[in-house]
Symmetry: D2
């Protein structure tokens, strides 16, 4: 199902080479001003062809808002935005109809939909479907921004090259602002050159490379979220795994924390003036599924782009035999770069739902 959310529902539609893609967002608070330039900025960060590390396929990706907005403000009714598909070269994908690409959803999509799914360009499984998610996230983050909540992510690693991590207890608004506008977002700008070199090397060797994205949410009010199955970790992960290529998520100290002792991993509470804070943030701003008021921090693992120019073994399901596949399409050697704003968008969708559930979104 391509629908998600309770208080604010997102319904994503479209296929890579169909007429268009888009989203319906139902349940937005009324009267919220939309900054269209801000939305286009976010969509531009995700769009291919803006950065030399990305695929040269150009998308116009101009969303047309059909409903839910009047005089630049949300009406409270469902907001539908449509992005037309252009510049598609379906012939690039000819042989995948019978020969599923390794690590892609070609084979599983074929099974799930009895062969009726639109396989061109990955169809509904295409990374292009993250454009409506970024659109929806951009709308939500503007609404959250007015409540003092900021969301920003960065390229935490490409292959073995790591950026600095967020300092869990003290993230400056300036850093959040800078990252949330970056096309190649890094805390430590010195990592850009080696990362780009590695990506270029992968491209030249007809290969691709994975990485991780780290995301921070600051200004989150304490006491939001619910126990058990509607905790903040549950909600964020339920939407983040909707991003193609995400294969892991961890909050706070995460997998590293699993190697620690309680005395090392526990975050002590203290009074900072009238506010209860923690001295460290191994809990990633979440205890028992509920926000502590400290920054929410999570990392996601992004697998290397499945589409590589190298020859690969696969099956021919029409002939029922093994075969060799050569993919000719245009593909990012590293989708981590463009995944950054998508992860932020997923976080914004999660947060707006979490706040709405506990009446913390305001009128």
């Amino acid at each position: 199902m391509s629908s998600w959310g309770n208080g604010v529902k997102l319904s994503v539609f479209g296929e890579s080479h169909g007429e268009g893609i888009g989203a319906v967002i139902d349940g937005l608070p009324p009267g919220e001003e939309l900054d269209i330039d801000g939305i286009l900025l976010q969509m531009g960060r995700r769009a291919p062809g803006r950065d030399k590390a990305a695929t040269p396929r150009l998308e116009k990706d101009m969303p047309e808002i059909l409903s839910g907005v009047l005089n630049n403000r949300t009406t409270g009714a469902p907001l539908c935005a449509v992005i037309r598909n252009n510049n598609t070269r379906s012939q690039d994908y000819g042989n995948i109809m019978s020969c599923p690409r390794p690590a892609h959803a070609d084979y599983t999509g074929y099974l799930r939909y009895n062969g009726f799914n639109d396989i061109r360009g990955g169809g509904h499984f295409s990374g292009r479907l993250t454009a409506p998610i970024v659109f929806a996230g951009a709308v939500c983050r503007q609404i959250l921004g007015r409540r003092g909540i900021r969301i920003a992510a960065h390229i935490a690693s490409v292959g073995g090259i790591e950026d600095k991590r967020f300092c869990g207890t003290d993230i400056s608004p300036e850093l959040m602002e800078r990252l949330s506008c970056s096309v190649f977002g890094l805390i430590d700008p010195n990592k850009e050159e080696p990362m780009r070199a590695l990506i270029e090397e992968c491209r030249m060797s007809c290969d691709s490379i994975g990485g991780t994205v780290e995301c921070a949410i600051t200004g989150m009010p304490a006491g939001a979220g619910s126990p058990m199955f509607y905790g903040i970790e549950n909600v964020i992960s339920s939407v983040v795994f909707g991003i193609p290529a995400v294969k892991g998520i961890e909050f706070g100290s995460g997998f590293e924390g699993s190697r620690l002792r309680g005395s090392e991993n526990n975050d002590e509470f203290f009074y900072d003036g009238d506010t209860v804070r923690t001295r460290t943030n191994n809990h990633g701003g979440i205890l028992g599924g509920i926000s502590t008021g400290m920054p929410i921090i999570f990392r996601t693992a992004i697998k290397p782009t499945p589409s590589i120019a190298k020859k690969q073994n696969t099956v021919d399901i029409t002939k029922g035999e093994n075969t060799v596949l050569e993919i000719n399409g245009r593909h990012d050697p590293c989708i981590v770069v463009r995944a950054v704003p998508v992860v932020e968008a997923a976080a914004a969708l999660a947060v707006i739902n979490i706040l709405k559930e506990v009446n913390m979104l305001g009128a």
Copy 2:
């Protein structure tokens, strides 16, 4: 919200020191025989006091089935099971009423429920609430077992000590069977002694230790799951993060895979007789949110038990000042051991929902 699921809904209730805890499971297929001994076996694996590495608090944990079962078979109506609370020593938890334990939900629960939550023993946030989850999972795994689906997990690591990992392409039914009955489940039994030594060392030093649990699902039919927000990763993680202390999850090669190149991480398809399989299983049995028919494999990060006997700094929210906390209750130095069957139960709940969605559960 302590409710979860679409086709098969789970509603968990109870507080650690209240009258009782339990679960309602709605949507089970009718006519399924229940093996009560099998259910008690699973609950015994989770129960404290069965293993010397666990807390000495004894629970009787005998579930009483109130509805949904007749002549030992499911009727199709909601199944409710209640577990009475006994042997609670509320006085152990006296000072946490005003002094939240670091890394626990005391503080966030207080905020979320305006101080009205039952804080005794952790209340609804207690690890004890995983007993109904194990019960529900035990019911589901019996139903799945009849369809050839097996679920088993093991202690993948305690602190820095690691067990072997599942071989993603070839997991024997014998291993699955052995692990799914184990109290201290390991693929490599030689790791038991060093792990126990480390846990005992932590106990003696008034500390605790974290770890990871790896879970495998074999016999999963190919083509189950849905794209985007109802993919298998989304569904599994949305229930797994309902287990207290879980702070991360990864599928297949996960975070490690994010360091690889596409040519390394892509799993090539081939015909194994008439069946399409992959030669490696970095995808963890899931592509595009949908099962490939290969084993589904995921790992979860479990933080060290927050409750440690060492003195810790915290706040006194009644007095509004910093203070020092000493916890006297009985606590596991390593909850990873008892988390193993809970992770399996969560997986069973996820899988039964995924199969029901695509009509693969059968009559």
Copy 3:
């Protein structure tokens, strides 16, 4: 599915002759005081054997609250209440195992659950399952009462004998109070005698009789509810049709209004001091799915009790032939009387969900 609701979720479980029945209510606001006597009063109104017009089967129906309440206040965690089954005489229902009772769910339940459903006493389809609904509604109405919202229903008709109707624009708190405590609730007490006579006549002739229940909700704040599929009519009817024997519902002027002209049915707005009200209330307090602040009024059609002592033709599904059925159990000749508090409870559940959705429930 026996689960319902979004913000406040209800999960009902149990079978008529099983171990017990009950409900889990998840999402209640914390800190709400429970008046147990008030709850028992409501349950007593529904219980059989309290009124001579009802079945002589006696239920103790004492709910045991297992969770979600501490020191008589809601904790915010799920509230589970269990009612034990006693005084069941399963032998009364022997021949219905193969011979479905006309107008009952015996036949459809058999099909739906492949014959595995617990058919004794109607199983999960039994009217006894309305006891947990009344319990849940009693909890909700106390919470709503604190916000000035009152809910009351009356026997609008038994067969052709009609009570007066609510005056849609002016319903006194005294009437609401009186009705919400009545066992045989009528606006016009003079109708009690002829109604009772008719019911007694039906009993004596081994027959039963239907009727209607009219329900009013006063003090409803204006502006609650949502357009289209989450309007107040949708929400109320989605829960009211969960009451066995309900076959129709109408709001405001309802079916009668369908015979009117716009100039007759339209309710004119006017200022009553600072408050916008309508001079008539054909809209039943709801326009576009949203409350106007006028009383919400709806009527439900209750079919005659299907279980009658008269011989009836039916089928024997074991033998595959037509047969004649004689039912010996104890049955109400008119369930309308006991349906009154159930309809109120359903309304309370609907209203608490509607208010929670729009943040009108308060802290």
Copy 4:
């Protein structure tokens, strides 16, 4: 919320005078052929200006399918269809901005959305929003038709003039076929003239008139639906009340049945060859929320069009005083005529969800 459904989800968007309206349908079975002419036929039945009894406003109402369809077959991915808005005359609605029309959602929409809703033409509350519902229903009814399920409704009454009712036990495929294509659908064609005369009289007197729509579903397999809150009555009513102006619904003998005795209302079972049927159909094809295999029959009450040319009293919420309103727009004197295909569409949406829940939709 303008989203509905579990297995097949519908998300409706748009405002009467915005850029466009439409729907996203998620969860359709893949490989289903779409007969576009059949869809347009259904949309034409609802469209204004096709029948002299309807408003002269002409809509082109040509849906553009953006996704979910390839080579005229469903792909299994979400199907989005957009209908552009043209021919809108916003100036007609000028004075309703401050003066809410009686019996309309102007006032409640204003409250619900803090005045930010698009009030032009009724905005999201407009009857025009039923066009996407008819579109979605037309898609679903084609899928259901392939499984032998037919859906048809007729004008059961206009004011006091009544059509014949469906014979509950025997509805011919020819009648179903004829009605499901009719613009002024009646079982008894002799009622067309008096009904049209009454409607015309209302128009001439600047007034409007209400009525009822009766809908039948034939070929419904027995054993579909679930007890309590997901019964067929609950599901149908939860979507039918999403149609503006619907104020009541009854199944089978409904309100009339509430006046009967059990011996009159109970439908006796008998074997018709190998099939279990009932001799009468007062239960409307549903017992315990589950289908018996007999035709499902329900009636809905449609209030008279609120917009009438007659002067009406209302309030001016800007000035805070009482005032008189004169509406100049183009309005149907009787929306019952155009409501017929909308009710059918709602039924189709309900049925496809009900069948999907119990795995009866097939591959």
